[in-house]
Symmetry: C2
């Protein structure tokens, strides 16, 4: 944890002072993204110190050959890596032939970074004294345009402070890049063309195997004293091209460079047209110009914040933290393209590979449903529909038949990308999250149309999977599910994980209900789906048998469902009674010791109580919370949010706030000393949930938003917005009262503390 590293600010992330030890962490924290591409905050100029270079194009991946210690049957042979893409941000700077490199400067002062979240730009400024004693002032602003999402813009300004010198600026493109996490040091990119024309340059390269064709392009313009400098070709190799802008600059004078760069990709255009399209894109950018494009950027971010901002009064760090979370989620995914999803590191690192986890359905969907238009959530659902065939193939590889679908643990294109047997094959609760998201979407938006059109097929494939995955225990005379890893990954290969059993039963019942509804109300869709899936009534009868006779481990003594069979055999020492030197257990203990301990990595039974809150009484929630919370170590970034929401529901606001704090500044304060690898994007949605669903108590039940407003003692007030069926509800909660206001043109009845409240557009109502 590093609390003083990032300055407190309501709207910006600010670092002051140059520290080589922090460069990689800052590269993560100051990352930029626009949904279509993104990049770590690598320096534009040369940097010879420790750095983790990363530039990523949404949906462009490489299936790296699997490398494991011991092969287990069923492992995928390849898995999709988030792929470091050609670098377009580079601008080498030479002052009298000495390269500007902060790692070798005699002195660096006034170093400052700012990521302005309100307006969506990143700025870095510093003064440097080079080895030739020339001092210069540098200011660089960069953004990835939301208006033209294939373009990023850089403005670099240099001023000589103590001497005249020959200044040479070399904006370049470089496809000679690698992935840090490559398994076999394969070549991931093949460069086919390196070219330039006046102020522009192009590198055409395609990925090996997946054959994504890309054109990395740039348009650079340098000005001195209001006059453009003519470029020369500086260097051209098989994978590099640089233009040169050279000028004699006097002490106190300034030179500036504007660079537009980015990618055109065969995912969106004809492969043969990529350079032409790149020219069109650059024409648009240069026609608008840097300043106009930046203005558009500010407008676009203003629009995003209008719908998704959360304000917190009285706690600057909390304010900064929640905005950072919301900002990063929006940088990662905007819902414009149903082929994309929300990677765990977004555009900020390589780690984990793949782009899609159950995090999307379980944690991110509520955020996107409430802060975007309905189409965004639809896109996320459609993504899984488009992967249904692959999920069926995935299940087939593991021995399932008859159209049973197992969605992968990690994926890029629908194929499984993970290779730990205890996760890949056994953490199958992920499948339930897909069905739950369909339910959740309908519950929140009221839009049923996804189910007859797409969702029903998904629900059938998933129900088939559960039906085949259980077996009948003669001993228990119940259906059991063996060999499971639940959400708590600190247990592997257990029997009857309650959460998974419960989810399986629910998935089957939900699928049966939807079959009935679609049969009644969308008979054409019903016929189409039944015919396509060859579903029979005897099959659904078999499903019903499983659902109605599922086994759930339960302790009469403790009056709680057991996380899995045998949980009570453990040595039940509470977390608080562990020696501090044992924490975090994932760093201090060998894996077997973790496994046989009672310690819970992230909510498991409680995750079920979160999903299916209305199936259980508050008393039962309290019993389960009090039983499991003392064993929960929250060593997953996805854990505290669920506990925070439940603590709030149980009226334990101090505890809820403590859990909230663990997530909201996880990356900013680098709790786990790993932010240099990238940000924890998906858990950021959990932070949002902690406020909206936890403190605000928002639920949608019976087509109506419900709230049970509370506020942490540390805050004066806070406010959030929810797009409920195209009306934006602004909820403002202070110690004394909660007020509600809606947009739109019709009244909306909500429930506040279980009492109805009628909202009229434009009028703030207190409760």
């Amino acid at each position: 944890m590093n609390q003083d590293y990032i300055k407190s600010d309501l709207w910006s992330i600010i670092e002051e002072g140059f520290d080589v030890e922090q460069v990689k962490s800052s590269e993560s924290l100051f990352s930029l993204g626009n949904g279509a591409m993104g990049q770590r905050a690598n320096f534009e100029e040369e940097y010879s110190g420790e750095t983790f270079q990363g530039s990523y194009i949404a949906g462009v991946y490489y299936p790296d050959k699997t490398r494991v210690g011991w092969w287990k049957n069923g492992y995928p042979e390849y898995f999709a890596k988030v792929l470091n893409a050609p670098n377009w941000i580079g601008v080498n700077v030479f002052i009298d032939e000495i390269s500007l490199d902060l790692n070798t400067c005699k002195n660096v002062s006034n170093f400052r970074r700012e990521l302005n979240m309100k307006e969506g730009w990143y700025q870095r400024s510093f003064q440097a004294e080079l080895s030739n004693t020339i001092e210069l002032k540098v200011n660089i602003t960069r953004f990835l345009s939301l208006e033209l999402d294939e373009v990023g813009a850089i403005k670099m300004e240099l001023e000589l402070m103590n001497s005249n010198a020959m200044v040479k600026l070399v904006p370049y493109l470089d496809s000679g890049i690698t992935n840090e996490d490559s398994n076999w040091d394969d070549k991931f990119w093949n460069t086919t063309r390196v070219d330039s024309k006046s102020n522009r340059a192009y590198i055409e390269a395609h990925t090996m195997k997946t054959n994504f064709a890309t054109c990395t392009f740039m348009h650079a313009n340098a000005e001195f004293d209001g006059v453009s400098i003519s470029p020369k070709l500086e260097k051209k190799t098989d994978t590099f091209i640089g233009l040169e802008f050279e000028k004699n600059v006097s002490k106190g004078e300034r030179i500036s460079l504007t660079k537009f760069g980015g990618y055109t990709v065969s995912r969106n255009h004809e492969a043969s047209q990529l350079v032409d399209v790149a020219n069109v894109v650059m024409d648009r950018a240069t026609t608008m110009g840097y300043d106009a494009l930046l203005e558009k950027q500010k407008e676009a971010w203003a629009n995003i914040w209008k719908m998704s901002d959360i304000t917190i009064e009285g706690d600057v760090k909390a304010q900064q933290g929640i905005r950072f979370n919301i900002f990063q989620l929006n940088q990662t995914y905007l819902g414009k393209d149903s082929r994309l999803n929300i990677g765990p590191k977004g555009f900020t690192g390589e780690k984990y590979g793949g782009s899609t986890y159950w995090d999307t359905e379980a944690y991110c969907l509520p955020f996107y449903m409430a802060t975007k238009n309905q189409e965004v959530a639809w896109s996320l659902l459609e993504y899984r529909y488009n992967h249904l065939e692959k999920a069926i193939e995935n299940a087939q590889k593991l021995g399932f038949t008859n159209g049973a679908a197992l969605y992968p643990m990690v994926t890029m294109n629908g194929e499984e990308c993970h290779n730990e047997w205890e996760i890949t094959f056994e953490e199958i609760h992920r499948n339930g999250a897909i069905s739950y998201a369909i339910f959740n979407y309908h519950r929140f938006t009221g839009d049923y149309s996804y189910i007859p059109k797409m969702g029903l097929e998904v629900l059938i494939g998933i129900a088939r999977f559960w039906h085949q995955r259980v077996n009948f225990s003669q001993d228990k005379q119940k259906y059991v599910m063996l060999g499971i890893t639940g959400p708590n990954e600190y247990e592997n290969n257990v029997n009857n994980n309650w959460y998974t059993n419960y989810l399986a039963k629910w998935c089957i019942e939900y699928a049966l209900e939807q079959l009935k509804i679609v049969d009644d109300q969308y008979p054409k869709d019903y016929d189409r789906v039944v015919s396509k899936t060859s579903l029979t009534s005897s099959e659904t009868e078999d499903w019903a048998k499983v659902a109605s006779n599922m086994y759930f481990p339960y302790s009469e003594k403790h009056e709680v469902f057991l996380q899995q069979d045998g949980f009570l055999d453990k040595d039940l020492i509470k977390v608080e009674d562990l020696d501090k030197s044992d924490r975090p257990i994932n760093q201090k203990w060998s894996w077997d010791r973790i496994l046989r301990s009672p310690y819970i990595k992230q909510a498991d039974v409680l995750q079920g109580f979160y999903f299916f809150e209305d199936h259980f009484s508050k008393q039962s929630l309290e019993k389960h919370f009090d039983f499991y919370e003392p064993f929960t170590v929250h060593e997953s970034s996805l854990s505290p949010c669920v506990h925070s929401i439940q603590a709030a529901k149980l009226g334990r606001m101090e505890q809820a706030y403590t859990f909230y704090l663990r997530t909201s500044r996880l990356d900013l304060d680098d709790y786990n000393k790993e932010v240099e690898e990238g940000l924890h994007i998906t858990s950021m949605a959990g932070t949002w949930m902690s406020i909206v669903e936890g403190f605000g108590g928002m639920r949608v039940l019976n087509d109506m938003p419900h709230f049970t407003p509370q506020i942490p003692a540390q805050w004066k007030s806070y406010s959030f917005k929810v797009n409920f069926r195209n009306q934006i509800i602004t909820v403002t909660i202070s110690e004394k009262q909660a007020s509600f206001e809606i947009t739109g043109d019709k009244n909306l009845t909500i429930q506040v503390n279980d009492k109805p409240l009628v909202l009229t557009p434009g009028k703030s109502v207190q409760a």
Copy 2:
């Protein structure tokens, strides 16, 4: 399976006809070893086809950096690889400058290999037509000397059949070798000197990291018409040296080459003296000469067979199979060096790494106890005593304290060499096998001296481990053991594996008993050990509590102990009811499906009934056998022997014989299509047990050998020998009778079918 590949023969392994597809398999089957070194049956001459090159020096290994897909806390950073050593067998052959290479010859005929197990040599002969149409006849004999165990000998004879030609023979040494299973393509060997002097050559090389210094040497002599040819240096590189013997040979004439080669190693000599020692060794070999050394070889093997042969009348394939097993065990380990052990592939391949598994204690020890002098078994026990400190360190790495010892799953030098969490950390029953071997040694040999001298410390370390590894279940009010993989590796991370729980209880009780005996009878040793281990009476009281209150899963309904908690929840379909296309499940099913199935890879509960036979009634054995056998797929080479012994005990000789067949020719008939990777050395001891303990029913109880002779219907008679406390008992069993004869100078009372029988030396007694 490939039944016609190896010709049936009582004493030899014979292959006829050249098949490029079989080269790698034959390289395994015709492997040679002399306990100190060994090698696959690679061709001496060039071979450009598929080959798996392997030459191994006992005890010389390399700690390769671990490579896994996902790191788990506690994994060893390095693990010891069986190391491919410099090649000394090579002899390139050029006929008019064309290299003899069976892969590129126009024709190969009369190809024949013979491994003569009676005499310990390997011969290969063939006729080849080269691309220049010259035909030649080649005959090559090779053996690794038991007399001089640093030396091997090769005799190569060539005859030109259809033409005169210039024949060039190039015996060479080559240290430019690699391991097929290298993790990171590290350089394993560093060559420091390549040299030659007249007929001799030397390569000095040491292993990286472990720094084993070696001198690979050769002495070559070619003769034509009874006259030696003078050698020239043919080629010398940084890692290669070849001598050249050149002669114009006429059609019908013969040229021969004798080559002595081998290794001197810093494990046995001063590193600085290795070349000098090599010269001494070569002097001895050349002074004796090839023929005399071969005679010594035949004598040495005759002595081995005198004590260990099993004869089978009426079944040539069975005879060949059992002799192959006995032969390979003796090639692998002779018990001369307590730093060595019995690797699972011996000197026949790289696979698995490490040299020592629980196979040694559980399967190999009985063979070596019964067919060697007592010192050999002592050596195996001493090996583990020497590793006790490392076992304590290994346990510490996993969080155990106070001198608790966990012997590694796989090791070379006492450190753990394996990295699958479910095995490395959880298959801890291996620890019990170490204690059991101490008990077994005492039971068989009557020699108690190992226990006060060394064994007690081992027993204490192991008892401490079990005491710490269990925990008290408040729910069951018993001690339980969580997170276990039993001998049946088709279950991972289970709770209360009966075998492991039972073994743990027994280990503690046995340690407590021995503490009492040593205290009574060896007070000095007792004081030394108690002082060294800081053992207290309160500690042993705690052990006793665990042992007396251990939980054992049991089914009242089936009247059997359950393999682990929850076994009865499985879908209990018998193996015979599985579709054939599902077998073997380890090739056909994904890992999770195997895990949740009831199928048993190798005896688990039944392994316990084998170890602790006299703790259970025959009726109970029968119940457990009938319960578990139908679920056992025997996909481990170590499984059928235990079932065979138990089936024989239950009087089910047909079934016992079927199980026996599965092991005895496992490699010869290549049941699992993997013999090219090397032989299954340790399971070969199980085959021996199937005959001696199974069919012959041998046990040692109360210091007396017991036999319950039976014979498979397929055999006329069989006979085996047992060295019981320095008297060799020869047991011959036919359909009609069993006869017994002993060597030595005193009578011996044995039990046959529970009746005493007095044996007098030199007289055959029938029962």
